[in-house]
Amino acid sequence: MLYAILCYHDEDFVGSWTKEQDAAVMTKLAVVQEKLHKQGRLGPVARLLPTTAATTLRKENPPLVLDGPYAETKEQLLGFYLVDCKNLDEALDVARDLGAANPGGAYEIRPVGMFAPGGALK
């Protein structure tokens, strides 16, 4: 089963990291990613630009375009992983590993229903 691990965190907080702090977190996360990659379990990984760059399309009739992210919450969706796991427990293990490398915030684990690798993207 593929699981999406969605990374939620307070954007103001992550935005307050210095360049060095940010780089240190990224280095730690890379270690976890490398492990998953060697096991052939890691799909695409994305870090999203700040929610200020987001636009929301509400599927009303006609569709409504709004500035900003979909949900106005304290924590924002900042990125995601696609990981191949046998079950939820295994997915949670991966999320714990990632969490140890980058504490704070939350990961939402969502089973993936359909996956197209989109190999054309580099």
Partner: protein, 425 residues
């Protein structure tokens, strides 16, 4: 990250909201700041043991408020606090939820007010910036003094003076109406732009010291945009700062001499910042409410999109400067437009465009730098030399002077018309 680094980042990010709310309670800047400081001290003690609260800002507001109220009581009664002062140590979830409810509806205006009081028209720009960096960003006096290249004592004095003036002026506490809110927003945007420029206009030898000013301005712009997500001018401002700052690593050579846009190593441009800036400009354009920040950001965007200098869409840039002249007429804008014009229609047309500006820009470094560059292109080397001499006399930084001297050296070396090096950065 270490515990303390984590807590520092949490305190920094919660600061504008927490100090803003405390200012609304106490209606006095010093009391609000002191209450926040107290809350931070308690956080440093409590968070490593009990773990971080779910909502650091609400925690700090609650604890800061209680601490300040106790302080007032203590002062009034001249007696020690009762032993069972549990309001501070036992912040449970219900209280947190209450704090959230109290502040959720206010926090936009709280933060805007906090930024706005720093923009008081009586304060000279340097004091506005210093005050905002101290109060809103929470930089220490030492950090601010370093960025401004003055002594700590001088900066301390500047901030104290600014605070006194703001206190005398009276802070507007009522919830602002729509028109007032948009006026405040414009003043705050201008102040953030000033902070950025303080950092951006640094010369090579001070660029690293002053870079935090640019980063802080971007942080404040993003904060403002989070609060007012549908304001195209705030999108434009944020985009402008991101696109300019994306070039930071390419702007100076090893000796600290300014490198012009067309000579910069474009592989050093920060593509992540550029992507964010371009995304914001795209969003802003959809609103079809143009404004000076959006136009300037659009110009910066065209430069960012050009992989090589010769790919630059100067025609479009010329049109955008034309639009900027309409909404924000200024000789400096016209001077910048002339640079674009020189690429599209040649140096003579550009020179004709700037000649009428001479009386108003007779003390402006860039005017003579640009004029000299146009004159070289036209082969009028003697006049160019006069213009460059004047530019050096007016240079504000050693990097500016060094740059013009480079032009002069080239002139001395050969009298042939050189390839143009007009100021576009």
């Amino acid at each position: 990250m270490t515990d303390t680094a984590w807590i520092d980042a949490a305190l920094t990010s919660a600061r504008p909201q927490a100090v803003g709310a405390l200012l609304r309670y106490f209606r006095d800047l010093d009391t609000a700041e002191e209450a926040f400081q107290n809350a931070c001290l308690r956080a440093l003690k409590s968070w490593p043991q009990n773990g971080p609260p779910r909502d650091p800002a609400s925690w700090l507001i609650m604890v800061g408020r209680n601490a300040a109220i106790d302080e007032v009581r203590r002062g009034r009664r001249q007696e020690p606090l009762p032993e069972d002062d549990r309001s501070i140590s036992d912040l449970d979830d219900t209280e947190e939820a209450l704090a959230e409810r109290l502040d959720g509806s206010h926090y936009r205006d709280d933060i805007l007010r906090l930024l706005f009081i720093c923009c008081h028209p009586d304060l000279p720009p340097t004091q506005q910036i210093a005050l905002a960096l101290r109060i809103v960003s929470g930089l220490t006096v030492r950090q601010i003094a370093r960025a401004f290249l003055v002594t700590e004592a001088a900066m301390e004095q500047r901030i104290t003076r600014a605070k006194a003036r703001v206190a005398d002026a009276g802070v507007p506490f009522e919830t602002p109406g729509a028109i007032e809110r948009s006026e405040r927003l414009a003043a705050v945007a201008a102040m953030i732009y000033l902070i950025f420029n303080e950092g951006y206009s640094a010369s090579g030898d001070t660029a690293d010291t002053r870079k935090p000013l640019c980063e802080e301005a971007i942080r404040l712009a993003r904060l403002l945009l989070r609060l007012f997500q549908s304001e195209p001018e705030i999108m434009g401002l944020t985009a402008l700062l991101l696109l300019q700052h994306a070039r930071a690593d390419a702007r100076f050579d090893a000796e600290g001499t300014l490198i012009l846009l067309e000579d910069q190593d474009r592989s050093k441009w920060n593509q992540k910042l550029i992507a964010e800036g371009l995304a914001l400009i795209d969003k802003a354009m959809r609103h079809r409410q143009s404004g000076p920040y959006q136009i300037q950001a659009a110009i910066a965007a065209l430069h960012s999109r050009a992989e090589r200098p010769e790919d630059t869409d100067w025609k479009q840039i010329d049109l955008l400067y034309g639009a900027l002249e309409l909404v924000q007429p200024s000789p400096v804008v016209t001077l910048n437009r002339a640079v674009a014009m020189s690429k599209v229609q040649g140096a003579q047309a550009a020179l004709d465009m700037i000649e009428p500006l001479a009386p108003r820009l007779s003390n402006y470094f860039h005017f003579f730098g640009v004029r000299g560059a146009f004159l070289i292109q036209l082969g009028r080397n003697e006049e160019a030399r006069v213009a460059f001499d004047r530019a050096i006399a007016l240079a504000n930084t050693s990097a500016e002077a060094a740059h013009i001297r480079m032009h002069l050296d080239r002139l001395m070396r050969d009298s042939k018309p050189r390839e143009k090096k007009a100021k576009t950065d």
